[in-house]
Symmetry: C2
Subunit: 352 residues, 2 copies
């Protein structure tokens, strides 16, 4: 089998970690007998500053022809915050109907977590974040601007259809795992949105009697997730709450250096996109201090999505093997550079 | 001086922890030479189930005559989630213009935090949460209900006036502390609301050149707060984000058992309200397992608000003294009951 992959390294440490992921993918294709056709695309802060281009029809058309997209990171102090996030990342998630943002929260053996006494056995959950609507639709208005009476209204728009596809996905996932699904919302306060979410979860849940259903307010989630992650198997939540709790998830699994994610198009109408959870970290770009494992695990999720389950598992196992030998996951205390870590993972993929 | 205090014990462990707080207040008034006139009010789940009464004009009128309100907790599995929260707690915060929800995040010596290696020196910040608007206004609508095309819209309403009073308060507080203020929002996505928040912070900040200004996205806050709390002094944020990050704050300071809060009316038009951050915990009610320190520290915040700074500090010091001797902060492993902890704090207030 041959897969066509679009590669968008982006800014800052994006190109470094993508280099690392590509090393591993290259080795994996030989070992597992598939082949990848890689096409690089320029995009991000530097590209925007030079050309003024963000997400656009032409690029969308080109990307659409690929089987999947591997994405690095975007952002640069020279570009006003929000421009690239909204103008590129959210634009892609919406244009390509990447309905589910899938974020595993898994503490790997040997990885240093800031949570005292937390063990890998107790920390293995997946957060399923709605990825195209909610507060991320960018709806709102400001009236009486520049007066003492300014009112800024920000809207969260939630559709039954948008929620349903994510919730269906979450139940299917839970049924294939420990059979527990937790809805995370704030339905006691956000009554309209919360009611629709709970309604959809109850309706879809009726078809999954084997999956145990739970509900946790988003504030309580921040309280329980760090100290009792074993309480959770699959957590389904809206776009904004998902953004928030997945960063907390990254903390407990040992930092952004190891956290991976998938932005999944569920109906095959456009490619899915895979990215590490970390940002472009311009302060450490070019130093070899970035941990490529988040990008490598995202590449493994890409392979799993394409049906190359065995290769995906081998990459995950290899990454775990290397993580166990790393005293520090990122920054100046790292004993291996970005490239060396990627080489070590690639090496383990072939020898395992 | 004599102060008139309304006491609302509420449900579950509310009455137990309020008993504890009252023991300490009673001793403090003798030691520090002021006197408290306490008036108890029935409210909460049990009261609602019996009478159908929630917040109402008559109760509001009675409470208004007091100098401050000491509040226990509300909630019971027999009452649908949201009824008491919206019908009583939020109703009070809004009716009494309790504009600021003040939540110190302080790790006391000897308290067990789940964050590995965290020390008290590194964890002493205050979260200033807007308490009357944002997503908590309850605005929203659902169209095409019960069809495949249901759309639920939830609004966050932010006014310049509402934001300004909170931001002013936060700057004043920062100026009296380590002189650092962090705005926590998600302005790259929630553009309308985020713009107004940043605008107000910049405008008010111009009058506080001695206060260093920072901005952190709410997702990044969840990433930094647990591992680098020393980065923060005063954090100002909106109602929903404040709800979320203060629970995370409670985690790092060692659990809900010790977290205190004030709901401050800033213009003297109505009384302020003081409550522990924990809920009614019906599962452990009546067992003597509840930690009264959150309620005791909230009572200390009440005294500080009334101008009894010295008594407030003495109570905090006494609570710290007792916390240092407690191996477990709540639950069946506690070596002291709710009442014994309160007695020990009261004892230390007089002897210190
Ligand atoms: C970059 C930004 C738009 C994005 C988000 O808010 O979704 C990021 O924080 C994430 O979680 O993927
Ligand atoms: C009880 C509930 C309404 C409340 C809130 O959401 O504000 C609580 O979570 C809090 O943080 O005080």
């Amino acid at each position: 089998r041959t897969y066509s992959i679009a590669v968008i390294p982006g800014d800052g440490i994006g190109p470094e970690v993508i280099d690392g992921a590509l090393k591993v993918l290259t080795v994996a294709q030989r070992t597992f007998g598939f082949s990848l056709e890689l096409t690089g695309y320029e995009a991000g802060a530097q590209h925007y500053l030079r050309t003024g281009e963000l997400w656009n029809e032409q690029l969308a058309g080109q990307l659409r022809s690929h089987d999947a997209i591997l994405f690095g990171a975007m952002g640069d102090p020279a570009v006003e915050p929000g421009i690239l996030e909204r103008g590129f990342i959210l634009a892609m998630r919406q244009a390509f109907e990447q309905a589910v943002n899938l974020r595993p929260v898994k503490l790997y053996p040997g990885v240093d977590t800031p949570i005292a006494g937390l063990t890998p056995e107790r920390c293995d959950l997946v957060i399923v974040r709605e990825n195209t609507e909610g507060a991320y639709v960018g709806q709102g208005s400001t009236i009486h601007a520049n007066t003492p009476n300014t009112v800024a209204i920000q809207e969260s728009v939630n559709t039954r259809q948008g929620i349903t596809r994510v919730v269906e996905y979450a139940f299917k996932l839970a049924a294939s795992r420990r059979k527990k699904l937790t809805l995370c919302h704030k339905k006691n306060i956000l009554v309209e949105a919360g009611k629709l979410w709970q309604e959809v979860v109850d309706q879809v849940g009726a078809r999954y009697p084997q999956v145990q259903l739970d509900y946790v307010h988003v504030d309580a989630m921040c309280f329980h997730l760090p100290v009792s992650p074993e309480r959770f198997d699959v957590v389904v939540t809206d776009n904004l709450f998902g953004d928030i709790i997945t960063d907390l998830g990254a903390v407990i699994q040992g930092g952004l250096g190891v956290a991976a994610s998938a932005n999944l198009n569920l109906d095959g109408s456009a490619p899915s996109m895979f990215e590490a959870i970390h940002g472009s970290a311009p302060d450490i770009a070019g130093k070899g201090w970035a941990n490529p494992v988040g990008a490598i695990l995202s590449a493994a999720m890409l392979l799993a999505h394409l049906g190359e389950e065995q290769a995906a598992l081998a990459i995950e196992a290899a990454a775990v093997g290397v993580l166990q030998k790393l005293p520090a996951l990122a920054g100046p205390d790292m004993t291996m550079s970005t490239g060396q870590i990627a080489d070590a993972v690639a090496e383990l993929v072939t020898t395992n």
